[in-house]
């Protein structure tokens, strides 16, 4: 599992800048991020190299933030892989609450972050592995 940090942000100019500045000052590296917009506010979700440090740094500045475990799945960058992954989840009736992905161009690997509903009901990790994907943890993320 990987640790995702979620930050509560008001929807107005300069908020993402503030977050990135706080992380920069601590020398923290952002590997991936996405933003969920809900009108007057949004949630910024990030994968960073040192999630616990990032949480402390943001909380120190009074930001509302939380750490959450998500699945970080990697596969070779080739057509059909996302379809294969989502088929495996769908066939097991696993609902995806949130997901975002990108491709690391250097080594042609795709990385997908997944949050699923009731992850405790099925061994999602094993299911993913059975379909030829690799689950990675924070420390491995950095080696990609």
């Amino acid at each position: 599992m990987a640790k995702q940090i979620t930050v509560f942000l008001e929807n107005r100019p300069g908020r993402i800048q503030t977050i990135s500045r706080i992380l920069k000052e601590k020398g923290l590296n952002i590997l991936a991020f996405s933003i969920q917009d809900r009108g007057e506010f949004g949630l910024m979700k990030m994968i960073v190299d040192k999630p616990d440090e990032a949480q402390l740094a943001l909380a120190d500045r009074g930001m509302a933030c939380a750490l959450k475990e998500v699945f970080a799945v990697t596969a070779a960058d080739q057509p059909g892989n996302l379809e294969m992954l989502t088929t495996a989840l769908a066939e097991n009736n696993i609902n995806i609450k949130d997901a975002y992905g990108f491709v690391s161009t250097a080594d042609k690997r795709g990385i997908c972050y997944l949050e699923v509903e009731n992850p405790q009901n099925v061994d999602v990790g094993r299911l993913i592995a059975e379909h030829g994907f690799t689950l990675i943890a924070d420390k491995d993320l950095y080696d990609l």
Binding site: F8, E10, R38, E40, F41, M63, A64, C65, L67, K68
Partner: protein, 436 residues
Amino acid sequence: MDIRYWNQRLETLPQPELRQLQLERLREVVGYALQTPFYKKRLPKVGISSPEDIRSLDDLKRIPFTVKDDLRQAFPKGLLAVDMEKVVRIHSSSGTTGIPTVIYYTADDLDRWTDLLARSIVATGAGPGDVFQNMMSYGLFTGGLGMHYGAERVGMAVIPVGGGNTQRQLQIMRDFRTTVLHITPSYLLHIHQRMPEFGLTPADLNLKKAWMGAEPHSENTRLKLQELFGIDIYNSYGLSEMNGPGVAFECVYKNDLHVWEDGYIIEIIDPRTGEPVEDGREGEVVFTNLIRHALPLLRYRTRDLAFLHPEPCPCGRTARRMSRITGRTDDMLIINGVNVFPSQIEEVLMSIPEVGTNYQIHLSRHEGLDRLTVKVEIYSKLFTGDLAALEALKNKINEKLRASITINSRIELHEPGSLPAFEGKAKRVVDEREKL
């Protein structure tokens, strides 16, 4: 000027006789008050144990003021002076602490109240032959039902449409050739803005008059609306503690509001000292209800600021006139006619752990209706990162607020520490509604 009276004898009663009538009615009401647990405890302390202890109107000043909070503390029956079998109507409103207030009426109380409304209506020159579209909300709010019964008594054709639905309101005005409206100023403005959408101009309608109340508004707003519609607009004043509308009303001279002094004793006091102020000086309006027996209220502090005109009115009525309301002594907000105190909102917010300590109350107006937005900071320690939890929190805040203040609000979530913080007395209310 076409001056009409509903009850010429009472309306033109010379001042000395009017004071004598007030004294007789005050004694009667004190008799009822002494039947209530609330006043039974309070009046003997100032030497009033029977109606005979009121020897002159000056004795009124011995009676301590009654305030809104007394009504709450007395909820539900601490101020009830008659058997419940005698009660035929109950009006109620929400309170700042979640405790509502209640007003009871006997059949005779309703009859006397209705008569003052009939008098108010006739004073504006309306009567049989008029088609009256009552656009104030019906229900627990006294504005709708009160005026309804008064208009029926006068013999107008009453359309009890209530508030909202502009298209239907305009359709009804056209279909029934409505001549008189009872409406809030903001809604009348909105109606005017919407008319082009339906291909209408005021010339397509048959409007002659409007009675405007439930919201404070300026003389300029009256003049503007009169011009826009080409009608006469009369200022109406009332509050449920004094029965509802019909406490004071303008006559055809439209030069401030005649207080129906045979029904109510008016005093204007300095809100800090409680001492009377001179005529013409602004102060807090205090009323004693002389016509309601089910729930007597003596020297009730309205929190409304106004001043009295002692000089006679050309219409011949002897009832003194009160200015339009110039302000409030407290921070009460009027949102779509509903009274809301910021403290009510604060109390609800502070009972929800996920809400931080800072909040802001925002008022704006859309399509003639007020909109309440409550901005709250989330409490960072209880933030889970879960979007569904945040949406649920918004719903929870709205539900809890609605249970307390009876109206819907838009809830906005903000970052901890982002809303303006204040030293000392916080300014938590931002009212962006155009002043009327």
